[in-house]
């Protein structure tokens, strides 16, 4: 006999896939159980009571019944719908980006409450109208910390010397910065970029980061540098990053 087990959890909905006639597989990220693949029955019917609470990029309180393969969502109540994030295409795209990073950096059933807090904070900041680029940089560095890939930004990873305020190099394979002597063929990192990265990495909260004014060229340097590092760790490109690039081109091209 299997014991029928029901549990409550808070969760952020990461993504979903249609299943059968009216069901969906819903991938959620929870504080206590990590990423969980669940199933929600009948939520594609237009009169479903749960569908509106189970949209991606929603924070919800869920009641789940343990199933043989996938746990079944029996009740759902949205806690945060992030309406401003949803109302703006650029912010929605940034939200997709945070969710894709969490999805890619986590394995099922591996709790990471720190990462959960960062994801909720990131979505909130996007909803509150904070600069989406800055929120993404902040989230990327927080995620790298929480996932155990905090980049070294103070000492050269080859020779151990303290980095000088000059053009240094960033090595994704070493996981941080190298001095000009050891840098070799790696990507150069400007003095200004290194300063911003260190500031965001050590900032105790987003309040401090929000005061940063980063010009577009420097923001792009930071974005590409972190993208290189994330691509190296994940061994793949992020689809939502490509979508954000496409949107940027669309806005620039008019």
């Amino acid at each position: 006999m299997t014991r029928f087990h029901v549990y409550h959890t808070e969760a952020v909905i990461l993504r979903r896939l249609d299943l059968g006639e009216a069901d969906r597989v819903i991938v959620i990220f929870t504080p206590g159980r990590g990423k969980v693949e669940t199933i929600a029955k009948g939520v594609r019917r237009i009169t479903s009571r749960r569908a509106g609470h189970l949209e991606p990029l929603t924070r919800a309180r869920l009641l789940l019944a343990q199933g043989r393969q996938l746990d079944v969502i029996t009740q759902a109540e949205a806690l945060d719908l992030f309406p401003n994030l949803r109302a703006d295409l650029g912010r929605t795209a940034a939200g997709f980006y945070l969710a894709e990073l969490v999805d890619r950096f986590t394995e099922p059933q591996q709790p990471n409450p720190g990462l959960y807090r960062h994801l909720v904070e990131g979505l909130k900041l996007l909803d509150l109208g904070q600069d989406p680029d800055l929120v993404r940089r902040y989230f990327e560095l927080r995620l790298l910390d929480a996932a155990g890939f905090r980049p070294e930004l103070h000492r050269c990873l080859e020779c151990g010397r303290e980095l000088e305020p000059t053009a240094n190099y960033f090595s994704p394979a070493s996981g941080g910065v190298l001095c000009p002597d050891c840098g070799g063929r790696n990507r150069p990192v400007s003095v200004a970029a290194l300063k911003v990265l260190r500031f965001i990495q050590s900032a105790p909260a987003y309040d401090q980061v929000a005061r940063l004014r980063v010009r577009p060229g420097l923001m792009r340097e930071l974005e590409l540098l972190l993208r290189d590092y994330l691509r190296f760790l994940l061994e793949r490109d992020l689809k939502s990053a490509a979508f954000l690039d496409g949107l940027r081109q669309l806005s620039a091209g008019g």
Binding site: R15, G20, T47, G52, A78, L81, K239, G246, G254
Partner: protein, 204 residues
């Protein structure tokens, strides 16, 4: 279910395995269908097999709207009775059926074959979006109705298409949203309630 240990004739286990690949069909249903087909007269089974092949070999996408069609242009795009100045944009061919069943819509369609969903690997270039823009540029229309699903991916796709259509100066609309017929207020989520309130209509 692992049939390799059970003594079942190879063609039978092969059909079960094929049917199991279909959406919504589990091992039990696959077995039931297989043994049902086994009992059918050969002419019935041939007709089923031919229908399966035809749907793949004789059907293609309409060159204009990308709905499923037997010819280069689908019956709707060919029809002289349709209003060619209105295009309704749909996610899937099945959604076209849902609207056609009403008999209320007289315009044309454009089927995207999906929605933008980066986490499921779907980007704008994987959909028939560029084809829609090109179509509107080629044949200016009075209105484009964006009828993608009223959810995050559907809204994202509609906003994205709107961004591309806006410079063309065409009227763009979205299907109304709010309470479903036959639903009950106390089960509606906040977002639906707000939409229903915003979209209310005067009775006088």
């Amino acid at each position: 279910m692992d049939l390799s240990t059970v003594p079942v004739a190879e063609p039978v286990s092969r059909l079960i395995a094929e049917l199991e690949k279909l959406p919504g069909i589990g091992p039990k249903t696959a077995q039931r269908l297989t043994y049902y087909i086994l009992r059918q007269p050969e002419v019935e089974v041939r007709s089923l097999a031919q229908a399966l092949l035809d749907v793949k070999t004789r059907v293609r996408f309409c060159a204009e709207c990308f709905n499923i069609s037997e010819d280069d242009l689908c019956p709707i795009c060919r029809s002289p009775d349709r209003d060619r100045a209105v295009i309704c944009v749909m996610e899937e061919p099945l959604h076209v059926l849902a609207l056609e069943r009403t008999g209320k819509y007289r315009g044309l369609y454009h089927v995207l074959h999906g929605v933008i969903s980066p986490l499921n690997g779907v980007l704008p270039e994987n959909l028939k979006i560029a084809e829609l823009i090109e179509r509107v540029q080629r044949h200016p229309v009075r209105e484009v109705i964006l009828a993608t699903n009223p959810n995050l991916e559907g809204d994202t796709t509609a906003s994205y298409i709107f961004k591309l259509l806006a410079p063309l100066g065409v009227k763009v609309s979205r299907l109304a949203r709010g309470l479903p017929s036959g639903g009950e207020l106390d089960y509606a989520d906040e977002r639906t309630m707000v939409e229903a309130l915003d979209g209310r209509r005067p009775l006088n």
